[in-house]
């Protein structure tokens, strides 16, 4: 037995060695270093790093209005995506109806998630272009000329435009998740409910929704992470402009680091976003739990 357990330890040790070292060197250590650097002033190039205590944190709250503007933009992505979740759910329920061709529609809905994000961003830059742009043409076709706006440059609208691209890209992903979870509900439960005279709406509310609550949790969690880390769509389509109107937290942090050489400050922002993700997730879990209790299902 002794020999066996030594062998076992060797196996475990050897197998886990590489993944754990990788994780430590390239994920955990950078994260810790991020925390350390948040207390320093460093330009990213020079050898000298000056310890400045909590200065960066103070400045984060007092002197970075554009950062908070960027964070508000993240919030816009979050809200829009959250509003779309019920619609995505309904669409997933429709897909489970096994109508002819519903598989094709499922494939189609998911496709945007697969294609290259940068390519999508360019495609939509063209779609929303102010000069001979497709979207404006569609509006004209529908007789809605006076809805035409400067989609990518009006600070009041640009974030909605970008969020629409994000919805286009990620909604299909949510739909497929919901669809898969819905399908895993045993058919006889639904049939029994039908025989009991439950309408589609009651079925959805009493059976389908509770059974897929785990996936909904996951989607909400992903939504928080995704919205707080939104980066590539504004990066490619507007570079955060005009001004900082469509900047996001990540975009602003990277600008702070690479454009303005303030790596210490950027680290502080990074720490702030990690804390924020954890906080929002905790709050959201609480809210979902309460809502579920009130809704009468567990």
């Amino acid at each position: 037995m002794y020999r066996l357990s030594t062998k076992r330890s060797v196996f475990i040790g050897l197998s886990l060695f590489i993944p754990v070292i990788l994780l430590l060197c390239f994920v955990i250590y950078p994260a810790l270093d991020l925390l350390r650097m948040s207390f320093y002033r460093w330009d990213g190039v020079s050898v000298e790093q000056t310890f400045i205590g909590l200065d960066n944190y103070v400045r984060l709250f007092k002197e970075s209005p554009d950062l908070w503007l960027s964070l508000r933009n993240n919030l816009i992505y979050f809200v829009i995506h959250t509003l779309f979740i019920p619609l995505e759910l309904m669409f997933a329920v429709m897909l489970t109806k096994k109508l002819r061709g519903s598989n094709i529609f499922k494939s189609l809905t998911f496709m945007p998630y697969i294609v290259n994000g940068v390519a999508i961003a360019y495609a939509f830059s063209y779609f929303y272009s102010p000069i001979n742009g497709a979207f404006n043409n569609i509006l004209t076709l529908l007789g809605l000329e006076n809805w035409i706006r400067n989609w990518l440059s009006d600070p009041a609208i640009v974030n909605l435009t970008l969020a629409s691209v994000s919805v286009w890209r990620y909604s299909g992903y949510h739909v497929v998740l919901f669809f898969a979870a819905l399908q895993s509900i045993p058919n006889d439960i639904l049939e029994a409910a039908t025989i009991d005279g439950a309408g589609a709406w009651q079925q959805f509310w009493r059976i389908q929704l509770p059974s897929i609550s785990l996936v909904i949790d996951f989607t909400l969690f992903q939504n928080v992470r995704g919205a707080l880390q939104m980066f590539d769509i504004p990066f490619v389509m507007t570079s955060g402009g005009p001004g900082y109107a469509s900047s996001t937290f990540t975009l602003f942090t990277l600008d702070t680091a690479f454009k303005f050489d303030s790596f210490g400050m950027a680290s502080t922002m990074a720490i702030a976003i990690i804390v924020l993700i954890v906080l929002v997730t905790l709050v959201q879990n609480k809210v979902v739990a309460v809502a579920r209790r009130k809704g009468g299902f567990s």
């Binding site: 062998k7 196996f11 990213g44 529609f105 994000g117 785990l214 490619v236």
Partner: protein, 288 residues
Amino acid sequence: MKDAKKLPASYTRTQQLKKALIYGVFLVVALCVIAPIIVIFFASVKDMKQMASLSPLLPPPLGEWTVSNYMGVLGSDQLLISFRNSAILVVISVTINILLGSITAFCLDRFEFRFKKLVFTLFMLGMLVPTHITEIVRFKVINGVGAYNTLMAPIIIYAASDLMQLYIFRQFVSKIPVSLDESAMLDGCGYFRMFWSIIFPLLAPASATLAIIKSVDVINDMYIPYLYMPKANLRTLTTFLMDFSGQTTGSWQKLSAAVIVIMIPTLLLYLFFQKYIFAGIVSGASKE
């Protein structure tokens, strides 16, 4: 079917109406999905004059389609280089991820050992760290290893920081009966041999799923190659597209052709391996 006949006419009519409604929704959604891609495709077969004179919603008249935009993209040496780089990244990253992911999941699922809790917590922490932002620190480490401006940089990062494979593999590992490993051990197999010849083949569906999902992720990733491989001959498909957009002065039609070309590899993967992609997405989500 028999039952349906017995139902009153009004019921079938509402049923029919519902069906029509659902198809209506399907069609609207499908249109929303396809419209931007169709529009960009139309643009890619127009010449400069047609771009200005025709509505973006219309293709050029038959017989007046131009392929010169595509020739411009396909004729670029950079496209070939970037295709090769993307392919190398996909093959190596996928291999490493499958090997490391499967064996890690196996160890964490099967054995009790002293630092298991610690190792577990480390992986959980790894999930929490946001990706783009840590790069401002991570590039120091990557520099330190001498991986900056080589293909090794993304390979290392993809191997170290994406932990979805653990979830996918753990689900499959936990379904494999322990008796299988035990009987193999009784036959005198070592642990590595047992893992390699018994467990690993049983994980094939998970590996396939992971391979497809990972390939799509690697091909589509923009930020890591953009930050770590500025060298011209280290472009990937995605960074090639960004370069190309910088060079096509003012001509959407040329950029459109590039956009379409860059979309093709992942679309093909999707077309042929849809099943695996759905499976991977779903098992990545059901973590509990």
